[in-house]
Amino acid sequence: MVDGSDSQSQSPSVPPAIEVHDLTVAYGTQPALWDVDVDVPAEKLCAIIGPNGAGKSTLIKAMLGLVKPLTGWVQIFGAPFAKRRSWVGYVPQRSSVDWDFPTTALDVVTMGLYGRLGWLRRPRRRHREEALACLDKVGIADLAGRQIRQLSGGQQQRVFLARALAQDARIYLMDEPFAGVDAATERAVMELLGTLRDQGKTVVAVHHDLQTVPRYFEHVTLLNMRLVAAGPVETTFTEKNLQQAYGGRLTALTRAADALLANPPLDRE
């Protein structure tokens, strides 16, 4: 089932960052994920792809303990999420919050520090400075005082990224970090993710743009309620697997992916 995951050997000293074992999740009577097993390798850029309703976001949410699985479990570096909270940073979908909320960009980023602050303690100047440094890393320190509705879509996404950076995690889980952002933000985000990986962090992102998968990611998980395949992009991001994940519905897309694989698109811009 896990196509080609052994074709690119990983150093055996690095255990999987996330281990998903026999995971089944349902919303009411509506199944979302069936018997999914995935090992997400550490220190890699990993994509989760699949058609709409394939359970991509659900998989991320299950990794974060936000949805309760019917069966199966998830472990982060060998322990349940509850024991690894401080190791995991999260970038939710942009549409998941009310952007009219009376708060500033800096304020939202500071929320990334709440976990470390714990109960009752208020963020102090040193925490706000730390949050500002995170905003600077995503290139919008100058917008710190803006109410968040007055930011563009790309800037809002950067605020969420900065908040995850403030969590100072080892694994970053991101739900569609490239959805509805401008080209400049996409480049900036990708650069940032590369930096994180070079620092030994693991990045897992739900991704919807098949064209950029080979360019942006090293590891890919293909979902369609069940696991279709997971492994290094070179061996797993194949026409056969894509067809299986997307069914016959998106033949144009699978052909596009095919064409891309034939001509490695590294210098397209």
């Binding site: 949410k61 974060l64 303990g65 936000l66 509850a82 909270r85 995991v88 999260y90 939710p92 998941s96 919050v97 009310d98 909320f101 009376p102 708060t103 500033t104 304020d107 939202v108 929320m111 709440y114 976990g115 602050l117 109960w119 009752l120 303690r121 208020r122 963020p123 109410q147 908040r163």
Partner: protein, 431 residues
């Protein structure tokens, strides 16, 4: 008017003001969580509790009435939760059901009590619209203690409650018990509603929760300031309302408070900077002025350009004909441009100053570059692009225009063959 100075009245006033502040604060959270109606449902749900407490104890003990109201309110909240979880009924319908069922029951019980021997004197109907004047000093002390306790809890858990309202899932990931915080917030809401009932009344309680919060939201983009402002608005409304209802006989307190807070809300919706209606209208007017000024400059420029002569004066009637603008409006636009030193006037004729010409060239450049862009990149026919460019020229920034120019390889003519003014401001050849 000596009642104003009486210690009893001052106690009541103080208590009501504090209550107003507290409900303003808790109302902010309800508003931001989009649970404005929950307060309404809880207030109505509390009424049968008050009645049952009276029937059981046979007297109007403040504490027992409070306990009854609180218990019924919590029942209502629980009921809403069960209905939402256990059925396909949505939350707004569940709130409506709870509100009407509990309130209906309360009114039936109230009628019963009126017919009881001790009922006539019970004064329980004050709970419908509130009557601060009937408060006893003991009530006020109890209310104040509870109100301050609510404020202290909110101050302590400010960070956690903010997280709950803004991004619940993120809070859960950080390890904060979001469900617990949610229950706590609902309990606080019930407590505030219950102690607010006797001043504001069942029917209008929701207004004292939501109105100050909605007004405060208009003025600030920070949660902390919104809470403070809302508390202030709530306190002012309550104080003014209580004084008003005490000075006019038989005027119930609730409606007076609500009238004051609604007035505050009205002013806020109209006048607040950025979010206010007047502010938006003012901005729209300013934009309209700018657009008209830019158009007039451009029209004069184009006429001169066609004649190849920027030095002669242009009759205003010609410019008037170009756009069919009403004359009076055109005069006003002209006068504004004269004041800015962009136009010279000689009787009914116009001429661009050097600065005006530079400004006009900037607009024409935007317009024509955008036309080139539309024709080349979007492959629109040349006769389709003018109207679009007419709108875009007022929106484009200089930075964007230069990016556009570079993208298109710095074209020199537009799709209609007219020259695109160069980037640098026109410099007059030195004679």
């Amino acid at each position: 008017m000596e009642w104003l100075a009486s210690p009893t009245f001052r106690t009541v006033l103080l208590g009501a003001t504090l209550l107003g502040a507290v409900s303003g604060v808790i109302g902010c959270f309800a508003l931001l969580r989009r649970q404005s109606l929950l307060g309404d449902a809880l207030a109505h749900a509390a009424l049968p509790g008050v009645c049952v407490a009276f029937i059981v104890t046979g007297a109007k003990h403040p504490l027992s009435l409070l306990v009854g109201a609180g218990a019924a309110g919590l029942c209502g909240a629980l009921f809403v939760m069960l209905v939402v979880r256990g059925s396909r009924i949505k939350e707004d319908s569940a709130l409506g059901i709870v509100l009407s069922v509990f309130f209906g029951l309360g009114v039936v019980l109230l009628t019963r009590i009126q017919k009881m021997p001790a009922g006539n004197q019970s004064g329980l109907d004050q709970f419908l619209f509130g009557q601060a004047a009937t408060l006893l000093e003991g009530d006020v002390i109890v209310f104040s203690v509870v109100g301050v306790a609510v404020l202290v809890v909110i101050a302590l858990l400010y960070k956690e409650l903010k997280l709950l309202c803004f991004d619940r899932a993120f809070g859960a990931i950080l390890g904060f018990p979001m469900r617990g915080l949610e229950v706590l917030l609902t309990v606080l809401l019930v407590v505030v509603v219950v102690i607010g009932l006797s001043t504001v009344g069942v029917v209008l309680m929701v207004a004292s929760l939501i109105t100050p919060a909605a007004a405060a939201r208009q003025w600030t983009d920070r949660l902390s300031r919104m809470l403070l402002l809302s508390a202030l608005f709530g306190a002012i409304s309550a104080a003014v309302g209580v004084v008003a209802s005490a000075s006019v006989s038989k005027l119930p307190t609730g409606p007076s408070i609500v009238i004051v807070s609604s007035a505050l809300l009205l002013v806020s919706v109209l006048a607040a900077p950025r979010r206010g209606v007047l502010w938006a209208a003012l901005r729209a007017r300013r934009t309209a002025h700018r657009v008209r000024a830019e158009n007039l400059l451009k029209d004069v420029y184009r006429w001169c350009e066609r004649r190849g002569d920027f030095e002669t004066f242009v009759p205003l009637t010609i410019v008037m004909g170009m756009r069919g603008e009403p004359g009076r409006r055109l005069y006003r636009t002209r006068d504004r441009l004269v004041r800015r030193g962009l136009l010279l006037v000689d009787g009914d004729q116009l001429k661009l100053t050097r600065q005006g010409r530079r400004e006009a060239a900037r607009m024409v450049r935007r317009h024509r570059l955008w036309e080139v862009y539309l024709v080349r990149r979007l492959e629109l026919p040349a006769d389709h692009v003018h109207r679009d460019a007419e709108a875009m020229e007022h929106a484009l920034t200089d930075e964007l225009v230069e990016e556009l120019g570079a993208l298109l390889g710095h074209p020199e003519v537009d799709p209609h063959g007219q020259p695109i003014p160069p980037r640098e401001p026109l410099t007059e050849p030195t004679k």
